[in-house]
């Protein structure tokens, strides 16, 4: 799954560095992702994983790293 997340970040994250140079724990906001870009990442994740982020997940920290996103997607899928 992290591969799919990384592809989405590459396409929508407007990162100032190459995603392949970042670890799963690296802070994406530090790597240049803006608030508007994080919204596009969220929408692309929803389309890709066929999920809908509930309101309580629509927070900055949920989209702060590849591993944070991965945990959130797992949690939402598990709740189905």
């Amino acid at each position: 799954m992290t591969e799919a997340i990384r592809n989405i970040l590459k396409e929508h994250g407007r990162l100032s560095v190459d995603i392949s140079t970042l670890t799963d724990a690296a802070d994406l906001y530090q790597a240049g992702m803006t608030s508007h870009a994080s919204v596009n990442v969220m929408l692309a994740l929803e389309a890709n994983f066929e999920i809908e982020f509930p309101d309580k997940f629509l927070r900055r920290s949920v989209f702060s790293s590849v591993s944070a996103i991965s945990e959130a997607v797992d949690e939402i899928r598990a709740a189905r």
Partner: protein, 302 residues
């Protein structure tokens, strides 16, 4: 002060000839007594800012559509934006359009998008003026304009067109944050001298849609927006009359604004909603300025 309904407040403002209804909600005219108070409040802002050395700028209430498109406004607030369309057809199309108009049919198909949109805030035309490298002490601009928000409402403080007096700051992060903190104190002092029971609160913008909920949560968590609120209709839901927005590097990146050391500049703005401040004064002290408390009158009519 007890609560008042939107309709009763509207009717009281009309009865005292402070506002002049025109048929469309949120587009009323302003009477001379209303305007006198509004102008005098503006003078107090000028007085409070007199030692800051702000550059005065004045723009028409329209902005370059390309600047608007670049600014992310449509991404954040599509529901509030006002885009200007105009007729560019020939005689036959003109006749067709007028037939539709006279028959009460839709005629928007004869209109084309122009190069300009209505200004959504006073500060938008300022950021492109900052493009390039800022001086060591950054820049500060004092600007006022009519702005448009598409949110028709019978509630008098929610207008479609109103004036915002704004101060816009660009510079290094600490310059901008310090300036904002200083103005927050200054703004509170100024409004309290006028007898308004104002309080600062952390706030968020009315971003559109589900993505907007995320943007609003981010904005609150990072404390990027503060509002100064005062009870107008109710104590429970006070009205924002002044707003402080810290954009971090948002406009610096979009409009290529740099500091002396080559970093992306940060920007912030603060705006007084002039009509809202004026309405808060009428609501707090009564609809007849001659009957306002002497200490308030002394500040506004020195």
């Amino acid at each position: 002060m007890s609560d008042i309904s939107a309709q009763d407040f509207h009717d009281a403002l009309v009865a005292h000839k402070l506002i002049l209804p025109v048929g469309v909600p949120g587009a009323f005219g302003r009477g001379p007594v209303f305007e006198d108070v509004l102008r005098r409040f503006g003078d107090l802002v000028t007085e409070a800012a007199k030692d800051d050395g702000a550059e005065q700028m004045l723009f028409p209430p329209i902005i370059d559509r390309r600047v608007f498109e670049k600014s992310d406004y449509l991404e954040s607030f599509p529901q509030l934006a006002g885009t200007i369309f105009s007729f560019v057809g020939n005689d036959a199309q003109h006749r067709e359009m007028m037939n539709c108009v006279h028959e009460g049919k839709p005629w928007s198909q004869f209109q084309s998008m122009t190069e300009v949109v209505l200004a959504p805030a006073s500060c938008y035309p300022v950021y492109p003026q900052f493009t390039g490298t800022l001086p060591e002490k950054g820049r500060l601009v004092d600007v006022q304009n009519w702005v448009f928000r598409h949110e028709p409402s019978p509630e008098p403080t929610r207008m479609q067109s109103f004036r915002i007096r704004e101060m816009v700051r660009g510079g290094r992060p600490e310059q901008v944050a310090d300036w904002r903190d200083q103005w927050l104190e200054r703004g509170l002092t100024l409004l309290r001298r006028l007898g308004l029971p104002v309080e600062p609160v952390t706030a968020s913008d009315p971003f559109f849609g589900r993505g907007g909920r995320m943007l609003a949560a981010n904005q609150r968590m990072q404390k990027l927006k503060f509002e100064v609120v005062v009870p107008v209709l109710s104590k429970e839901k006070p009205t924002a009359i002044c707003s402080f927005n810290y954009h971090q590097d948002h406009f610096g990146l979009l409009f290529d604004i740099k500091t002396q050391d080559g970093q992306v500049a940060h920007t912030a703005c603060l705006g007084f909603g002039l009509e809202r401040v004026t309405m808060a004064l009428f609501r707090t002290h009564g609809y007849v300025p001659a009957e306002w408390p002497a200490e308030v009158r002394k500040v506004l009519w020195p």
